[in-house]
C-alpha cells in the first residue's frame, strides 16, 4: 500500500464508511468486512455517519487522512459523495461502492445489489399474491414508504409505482412515510387499518417497517397466518433476524434478501484480487433472493445464505 501516514508501508488499509448502525443489514456488512479482512490480513477502519450525508463526506475525507488504500462506501446519498470520492481518487485511493451505487466516474468498482431490482422483486410478489387471491391483479394495497427523500426509499417507491401503473386493478388505499422505523410503521399502519376495513397487501420499504405493520395488524385483531383466507399480505426486504422469525412463524409473506455478509466478503475478495495484480469489473451486481415461509428451508435459499442466522 501507499504509506501516507498511518500503517506500515506494506499493510493494506481498508476504510469503510457506513451511514448507519441501527439497522441489522449494516451490521451484516460490517461482519462480512471484518471476517474477510481478518482472513486476508488487512487493516480495517470503519466509520458511521449516522444518517448524515455531510458527515459521510467528512468520514471519507478522514479515511483518506488515515492512509486508507481502499475505501468502501455504503452511501446514504451517493450523489453527494462525488466530490470527496474525486479528491480521494486523485490521491491514489481506490474507492468502491458497497451495497448501493454511487454515480461517480472515479469509482474503481461498485459491488451492489440494485435497489431498484430489490424493489421490483418485492413488487412482483405483491402482483403474484393478488393474482392468486382474485385470479386477476386487483385489490387494496398499502404502501409504507421509507424515509422520504432517501435514495433507497425512492427506488422502492419507483418499483411500486411501476406495478400500480401497469395494473390499474391495484388500488393504493394508503401511501405513507413510515421512516424505515418499526414504531412509526406501527402507528401509521394502525391508522391505516382504522381508515380501511379491507386491505389485501402491505408493501413495506424495508423489514423494520414490515415488522411494525405486522404488530399493528396484530393489535387490530386482524392478524392471520400466511395462506389463510382474509390474510393481509406483508412484504418487505433486508430479512434481518426479526423478520426471519416472522417468516418462520408463517406471519410475513415475503422478504427480499440481499446478503450483506457475503456481499461484504466478496468486496474484500475483490480487493485481494486487485492486490494480487488481478483486474475487476467496473460493476458487480450482487444477486438477491426472495425468502418466503414456503422456501426458507429450500436448498436454493440455503445456498444463498440466511445472513440473519449468521449474525445472531
Amino acid at each position: 500500500g501507499i504509506d501516507r501516514s498511518g500503517g506500515t508501508a506494506d499493510e493494506v488499509v481498508i476504510g469503510y464508511s457506513g451511514y448507519t448502525l441501527s439497522n441489522p443489514f449494516f451490521v451484516g456488512l460490517e461482519k462480512g468486512l471484518k471476517d474477510q479482512t481478518d482472513e486476508e490480513g488487512y487493516k480495517l477502519i470503519t466509520t458511521n455517519a449516522n444518517g448524515d450525508p455531510g458527515q459521510q463526506a467528512n468520514d471519507v475525507q478522514n479515511l483518506v487522512t488515515q492512509g486508507a488504500d481502499y475505501i468502501l462506501i455504503c452511501p446514504q446519498d451517493g450523489q453527494s459523495l462525488e466530490p470527496v470520492i474525486k479528491a480521494a481518487a486523485e490521491k491514489g485511493v481506490k474507492v468502491m461502492s458497497l451495497a448501493d451505487s454511487i454515480p461517480s466516474p472515479d469509482l474503481t468498482t461498485s459491488i451492489t445489489a440494485s435497489q431498484l431490482e430489490v424493489g421490483r422483486a418485492g413488487a412482483a410478489e405483491v402482483v403474484k399474491f393478488l393474482q392468486d387471491r382474485y385470479g386477476e391483479v386487483k385489490g387494496n394495497v398499502v404502501e409504507l414508504q421509507g424515509i422520504a427523500g432517501s435514495p433507497a426509499a425512492n427506488y422502492r417507491h419507483q418499483a411500486f409505482s411501476e406495478i400500480t401503473d401497469k395494473h390499474p386493478g391495484i388500488k393504493v388505499v394508503a401511501s405513507q412515510d413510515a421512516g424505515f422505523d418499526t414504531d412509526k410503521a406501527y402507528s401509521v399502519m394502525t391508522d391505516i387499518l382504522q381508515a380501511n376495513p379491507k386491505i389485501d397487501a402491505v408493501f413495506a420499504a424495508n423489514d423494520a417497517e414490515a415488522h411494525g405493520a405486522l404488530k399493528a395488524i396484530e393489535s387490530a385483531g386482524r392478524l392471520t397466518e400466511v395462506g389463510e383466507p382474509g390474510h393481509i399480505y406483508v412484504g418487505g426486504n433486508d430479512t434481518p433476524p426479526v423478520t426471519m422469525a416472522d417468516i418462520r412463524a408463517n406471519l410475513q409473506d415475503v422478504s427480499v434478501s440481499q446478503n450483506p455478509v457475503t456481499m461484504a466478503k466478496g468486496a474484500v475478495e475483490y480487493i485481494a484480487d486487485l492486490e494480487n495484480g488481478g483486474d475487476v469489473k467496473k460493476e458487480i451486481v450482487w444477486p438477491i433472493q426472495v425468502i418466503t415461509p414456503s422456501n426458507y428451508d429450500s436448498a436454493e435459499v440455503k445456498k444463498y445464505g440466511i445472513w440473519a442466522d449468521e449474525i445472531d
Partner: protein, 340 residues
C-alpha cells in the same frame, strides 16, 4: 377598599359556577379550543376519525411521548431540559429486554426502570451538584445512552420477549388497553403531584426564582434532582410501553422522541424558562400532536406534504392560542371594569 377580593367573590355555594369560571379563565382554554377545532376538521374530513377505536388508537399511539412528557413537564418547570429522553427509552428498553430474555420478564421490567432511573440520576446529579448546564448534560447523556444501546445490541433488534415484559405495552384488561390506563394514571398523578403537593410547590418555586426559593429554605438542588429522576422513571415506563407494543427492542428506537416530547410540553403552555406550566397543558399538547399525526394518516396526505401540513397546523394552533389569550385578557378587563 375598592378592590374585589377573590375570597369575597367565591362564596362556597357557587361551587359549580366557580369551576366553570376557573375553566373559562384558564390560560389553557384557547389551545384546548384549537384541539377541538382540529378534531372537528378531522371528523368532517374522515369518517373513521370520531370512532371509539380511533380515539383509543390516538391515546395509545401518543402514550410513549405522553408518558415521557409527564416527566419532562417537571424538568421544564424547573427551567431545565431533558434531551436524553429518547436515548434513555432506547437504552433502558433494550437492556430490560436483554435481561428479560435471560432472567424473565419481571427482572427485565426492574432493569428497565433502574436503568432509566440511573440516566435520570446522572442528569440530575450533574446539573445540581456539578452545576453543569442541563442542555449539555442531557445532550451528553443522549449520546452516551444511544452509544451504549448500539454497543450492547451490536445493532441488533432484540425480540421474542417474555409475556410479562411486554404486558404493559400490549395487554388489555376488560377490553381496555393497559397502555390507555397507564397513560391516564400517569397524567393524573403527575398533575396531582405538581399541583397538590408541597413537592410540586417547590418545583414551581425553584423554576420561578431559584435564589428566592433557596433563601426561603427550599432545597432547590434536591428538588431539581428529583425532577430529573422523575423524568428518568417516566422514560423507563415509556420504554416498557414501546417495547411492549412492538414486542421488540430496537437500538434506534425513539430516535428524535426528545424533540416531540419537549414540543408537546411547550405547546401545552409550559415555559422553557421555568416556573410556569402544567401537566394538563402537556396532555393537550400531546393530544394535539397525536391528533394531527393520526388525522394526516387517515386522510392519506402525501408523505411529501405531511411535514409541511404538520408544521402549519402546529403554527396555526399556537397562533390561535396567542390571539385568543390576548383577546380574552382584553375582554376580561373590559367586563370586569364594567362590573366592578
Amino acid at each position: 377598599m375598592t378592590y374585589t377580593h377573590a375570597s369575597e367573590v367565591e362564596a362556597p355555594t357557587a361551587l359549580p359556577s366557580r369551576f366553570l369560571r376557573r375553566a373559562l379563565g384558564s390560560p389553557l382554554l384557547p389551545i384546548t379550543l384549537a384541539l377541538v377545532l382540529v378534531c372537528g376538521v378531522m371528523t368532517a374530513l374522515s369518517a373513521s376519525f370520531l370512532t371509539a377505536t380511533n380515539l383509543t388508537n390516538i391515546v395509545v399511539q401518543s402514550a410513549v411521548v405522553g408518558i415521557a412528557a409527564v416527566g419532562a413537564t417537571f424538568v421544564i418547570v424547573t427551567g431545565g431540559i431533558d434531551l436524553s429522553v429518547g436515548s434513555n427509552i432506547a437504552l433502558s428498553g433494550l437492556l430490560g429486554a436483554m435481561v428479560a430474555q435471560d432472567h424473565g420478564g419481571l427482572a427485565g421490567i426492574v432493569t428497565t426502570l433502574v436503568v432509566a432511573l440511573i440516566v435520570g440520576l446522572f442528569n440530575g446529579v450533574s446539573i445540581t451538584w456539578l452545576k453543569l448546564t442541563p442542555f449539555i448534560v442531557t445532550l451528553a447523556a443522549m449520546g452516551i445512552a444511544r452509544g451504549l444501546t448500539l454497543q450492547q445490541s451490536q445493532g441488533q433488534t432484540v425480540y421474542d420477549l417474555p409475556a410479562v415484559f411486554i404486558w404493559l405495552g400490549s395487554a388489555k384488561v376488560g377490553g381496555i388497553n393497559v397502555v390507555l390506563i397507564l397513560t391516564v394514571v400517569m397524567f393524573v398523578s403527575g398533575h396531582l403531584i405538581l399541583k397538590r403537593t408541597t413537592f410540586g410547590h417547590r418545583v414551581y418555586a425553584a423554576g420561578g426564582n431559584a435564589e428566592a426559593s433557596r433563601l426561603a429554605g427550599i432545597n432547590v438542588d434536591r428538588t431539581v434532582l428529583a425532577c430529573y429522576v422523575i423524568a428518568g422513571l417516566c422514560a423507563g415506563l415509556a420504554a416498557l410501553v414501546l417495547v411492549g407494543r412492538l414486542g421488540s427492542a430496537a437500538p434506534n428506537a425513539a430516535t428524535g422522541t426528545e424533540l416531540q416530547v419537549i414540543a408537546a410540553v411547550v405547546i401545552g403552555g409550559t415555559s422553557l424558562f421555568g416556573g410556569k406550566g402544567s401537566v394538563v397543558g402537556t396532555f393537550i399538547g400531546v393530544l394535539l400532536i397525536g391528533v394531527i399525526n393520526n388525522g394526516l394518516t387517515l386522510l392519506n396526505v402525501s408523505p411529501f406534504w405531511v411535514q409541511t401540513v404538520q408544521g402549519t397546523l402546529i403554527f396555526l394552533a399556537v397562533l390561535l392560542d396567542s390571539f385568543n389569550n390576548r383577546r380574552m385578557q382584553k375582554q376580561l378587563t373590559a367586563k370586569r371594569s364594567v362590573g366592578a
